[in-house]
Amino acid sequence: MLIFLLRALAKMAVTLFVIVTIVFFATRLSGDAIDFIGGDALDAQSRAELIVYYGLREDMVTQYWRFLRGMIEGEFGLSLIERRPVTTIFLERVGPTLQLVGTAILVTLVIAIPAGIYAAIRRRSNGAKAVMTGAFIGYATPNFVMATLLLLVFSYWLRLLPSAGNGSGAHFIMPVTALSLTYIAALIRYTRNATLDVLGQDYLRTARAKGLPERTVITRHAMRNTLITVLSVFGLMVTALVSAGAVVIETVFSWRGIGDLLVTAAIRRDYPVLQFGVLAVASAVIVINILTDIAYALVDPRVRLGARTS
C-alpha cells in the first residue's frame, strides 16, 4: 500500500509537471494576453508598457522558471484580468462545479446502475428494450440541445423552474438532468454489459443451486461482481465529468463553475488562472484515478494494489 501510494504520487508529480509545462508553453505560443487586457485598441507604446507591467517581457524560459518556483512555493500569482489571487478565484468557482458534478454523479449512479442491471436481467422484455432505447437517445442528444430544451420547456413555457444560477435546490434540477443524461445513458450500457457477463458465470448457478431466492442471487452474488467492472468505467466517467466538465451546461444555466473559468481564461490567455486551473483539475483527476484503483483493490479481493492490469 505504502509503495503503491509512493509510486502513484511520484507518477502524479511527473504527469502534472508535463501537463503544466505543455500548458505553459502552448498558451503562450498560441496567443497574447495583452490584447485582452488592454482592450482591442492599443497603440504600440501602451502595448510595450503593459507587457512590462504584466511581467510578460522576460523571455519565456525565465517566466517558466519563475512559474515553477512559484508553484513549489505555493504562490500562483494574480489573475491578469481580475488582479485577484488565482486561488481565490478558483475557490469561488470550485464550489458550484463540485455541487453540480457531485449531484450529477449521484443521480447517475442511482438511476443508471439499477436500470442497467434490470436491462440485463430482463434482456428480452419490453421494459428492457425501452430502457436501452432511452439510453441510446440520451446518449445521442447533444447536451446543450437537451439543456436548451429543458430551459425552454420548464422555464420559458411552463415557468416551473428557475433558469439561471445556483441558489436553491430547484436550480439544480435542469443542469443536473442535462449533465447526467449522457452519463446515465453510458453507464446503463456499461452496467448492462457487465451484468450480462456476470450472469453467464458458474457461481451464479451455484448460488441458485443453494436454494437462494432470485433476489438474493442478483443482489448478493451478481451485483457485487458487476459493480467491480462498472467501478473502473465509473472512475473514468467521474474524471471526464471533472475535467471535460460542464462548460456547456454552465454557460446555458449561468452556473459559474470551473469549466466556464478555464475556457474563458484560455480564450483571454489569463495565464495564471489557466495554469492553476489546469493544475488543480489535473490533480483532482489523477487523485480520482488513484482512489478508483484503491477502491478497486478494496472490493475485489483478487486485485493487489499496483498490480492492476487495466
Binding site: D35, S155, S163, A164, S254
Partner: protein, 497 residues
C-alpha cells in the same frame, strides 16, 4: 424596492479610469460622478456635476468650483483634493493601464491644480476645444484619494497595488454604492443615502451575468430578473409576444466596422480595399439581419457628434460595378482574402454579417474566407480584414473616429494604417481648432483621405434592445455612450398598471 438585471456580461474589475470596454461602460454611471454632467433626461447638454460651476479662463485653462456636501460611499466627504488626485492620476499616470487612456484621449491634459481659494484648475498643452466633453467622460470620474491610496497599506505612497485593489472594491459619489462585486458575475448596487442629488429610485439593483441569450430571455419570462440586456432584433418578437413584457431599444452610438490592413501585400493596393468596401451592400445587411432597425452611415459620423455631425459626406457606398472595375484595374488575381472574426461570437450578428459579406464579395469576384479566431488578431501583420467595433467614447468625432485613426494611434502603431505629414496636419486642425467650421472642414478632408485609401468601413450602428417587464419605464438615453445602464432618478420608474 429592488431591481434585478440579467446582463450578458459583467466586468472583471470596476475602475472608471482604466476601463473603456462596452461591458464596463454599463456599470459606472450609477456609482460615479464627473465634474461636468450631462442632462441625460433632457437634451444631453452639460450641467453641473461634482462641480457647481466652471469657467474657461484661457484656451488652455479651465477652473472648477467644487460642490460641497458630497459624500463618498465610504462615508468620507469629497474634497477638492480628491478631485485633483482623480484627475492627475489620469493626466500623469503611473499605473500603466491609465497610460493607455491618457494617450488615446487625454493626451492634451497636463495637470489639475488646487487653487488657494479651493477651486480646481485644469491645464492643457494646446488650446482645448473639447474641455467639457472630455471632463464629462467616464475616465474622469472622481474617486476618493484617501480610500484608494490606503488600499495598498501605505496611504502616502502612490502605489500600483492600490489602483489594482480599487478595481475590486470601487467607491464613488454616485446615487448607488457598490455593495457587492463578484468579478465577472455579480454587482449589487445599494442606494447611497447621502447622495448629493436626487436619491436613487431603487433600494437595491442586482446585476447578474446570464451569458446565453435564450437563458436571459427565459430568466425574464420566469420572473427571475426585471431587465435583460443585449437583445438582438431577432429576439424582440419573442419578448413582445407576451404583453407582460416589452423591449426598449435604440441604435447605439457605436459602429460595427470592418477594418483592412493597408500594409498587407495582397491588399496594399488601395483600389482593392476600396473594392472590398464597395462590394458590401450594407443596407441589405441592415434589412436582413437587423430587420431594418440598425442605421447605415454614409460617412464615419453620428448624430451624437452634434455640430460635427456631417451626414452630407459620402465616404462609403455600395457599388458592385465599381468594385469589379477597381479589382480589374488593380489586377486582383483571386488571392484569398481572410476575414477574421472573433469566435465564439463577440458582436451581435457578427458571424452572420461575415458570412453575408463573403457572399457579397464572391459576387464581385473576391475570394473571401472567414477565419474564426478565439483570440484577437491584435497587431498581427498577417491580418487582412477583420471585424471590430468603433464606439463613441465621447460625443465627438475625436471620441469615435479619432480614438482609433489618430496619427500614431493604435491603428497606425499596429502598422495596418499609414499616415503622412498631410494627414497629421489635417488632424491637428480637426483636433485642436476652436472654430467648429474649421474642424468640420478638416474632418471632411480626413474622410476624403479615408475614402481614397480605406482602412475601415463602418458597417452600421447596431440596434440594441433591452427586454423588461412592461411596468418598467426605462429606455436607453441617446446622450450616453453605448450600453450604459442608467438607473438614476428621473431615468427609470415603474408605473403601477
Amino acid at each position: 424596492q429592488e431591481l434585478r438585471v440579467g446582463a450578458q456580461n459583467v466586468s472583471n474589475y470596476l475602475d472608471p479610469g482604466e476601463d473603456h470596454s462596452n461591458v464596463g461602460s454599463q456599470f459606472y454611471y450609477n456609482a460615479f460622478d464627473t465634474l461636468i454632467a450631462r442632462d441625460h433626461a433632457g437634451d444631453g447638454g452639460f450641467v453641473p456635476g461634482l462641480a457647481t460651476e466652471w469657467e474657461q479662463i484661457s484656451p488652455q485653462v479651465i477652473e472648477f468650483t467644487i460642490r460641497e456636501d458630497v459624500v463618498f460611499h465610504d462615508g468620507t466627504p469629497m474634497t477638492a483634493h480628491d478631485v485633483v488626485f482623480s484627475l492627475n492620476r489620469m493626466f500623469s499616470p503611473t499605473y500603466p493601464p491609465y497610460m493607455v487612456r491618457k494617450r488615446d484621449r487625454l493626451g492634451n491634459f497636463t495637470r489639475a491644480e488646487l487653487r488657494p481659494d479651493g477651486k480646481v484648475r485644469v491645464y492643457t498643452a494646446q488650446p482645448e476645444p473639447l474641455f467639457e466633453t472630455l471632463l464629462s467622460m467616464q475616465q474622469t470620474m472622481i474617486v476618493p484619494q484617501a480610500y484608494l491610496m490606503g488600499l495598498a497599506g501605505h496611504p502616502q505612497a502612490d502605489e500600483i497595488a492600490a489602483y489594482e485593489a480599487f478595481g475590486l472594491a470601487p467607491v464613488g459619489t454616485g446615487p448607488y454604492r457598490i455593495a457587492e462585486f463578484i468579478p465577472g458575475e455579480r454587482i449589487v448596487y445599494e442606494r447611497h443615502a447621502e447622495f448629493w442629488g436626487e436619491p436613487a429610485p431603487y433600494e437595491r439593483v442586482i446585476v447578474t451575468r446570464i451569458p446565453e441569450t435564450v437563458s436571459r430571455v427565459t430568466a425574464l419570462r420566469s420572473g427571475e430578473v426585471d431587465i435583460i440586456t443585449n437583445i438582438a432584433p431577432d429576439q424582440i418578437e419573442l419578448i413582445e409576444s407576451d404583453p407582460a413584457f416589452k423591449t426598449e431599444g435604440s441604435v447605439t452610438p457605436l459602429f460595427h466596422v470592418m477594418i483592412m490592413n493597408a500594409n498587407h501585400p495582397e491588399i496594399a493596393d488601395p483600389r482593392i480595399r476600396q473594392a472590398l468596401s464597395l462590394a458590401i451592400d450594407r443596407d441589405l445587411l441592415n434589412e436582413a439581419l437587423w430587420l431594418g432597425m440598425a442605421e447605415v452611415p454614409s460617412s464615419h459620423t453620428m448624430e451624437e457628434f452634434g455640430d460635427l455631425y456631417m451626414p452630407e459626406l459620402e465616404t462609403f457606398r455600395h457599388d458592385p460595378e465599381e468594385a469589379r472595375r477597381l479589382l480589374e484595374e488593380a489586377g486582383y488575381d483571386g488571392a484569398e482574402i481572410t476575414y477574421d472574426i472573433h469566435s465564439p461570437s463577440y458582436y451581435t450578428n457578427d458571424l452572420l454579417a461575415a458570412q453575408a459579406i463573403m457572399e457579397m464579395w464572391d459576387a464581385v469576384g473576391i475570394n473571401g474566407v472567414i477565419n474564426p479566431r478565439e483570440s484577437w488578431t491584435g497587431c498581427s501583420s498577417e491580418m487582412m480584414t477583420r471585424t471590430w467595433s468603433n464606439p463613441m467614447y465621447f460625443a465627438d468625432p475625436f471620441g469615435s473616429f479619432g480614438v482609433m485613426w489618430a496619427p500614431g494611434g493604435p491603428s497606425e502603431s499596429c502598422e495596418r494604417f499609414n499616415t503622412d505629414a498631410a494627414y497629421a496636419e489635417t488632424w491637428e486642425r480637426f483636433r485642436f481648432s476652436e472654430d467648429t467650421a474649421t474642424r468640420r472642414e478638416a474632418y471632411a478632408e480626413l474622410m476624403d483621405r479615408i475614402a481614397a485609401d480605406p482602412p475601415v468601413l463602418p458597417l452600421y450602428r447596431p440596434f440594441e434592445a433591452w427586454g423588461m417587464r412592461a411596468e418598467i419605464d426605462w429606455a436607453p438615453a441617446a446622450t450616453h455612450i453605448p450600453y450604459v445602464l442608467d438607473f438614476r432618478a428621473g431615468r427609470i420608474s415603474e408605473n403601477e398598471s
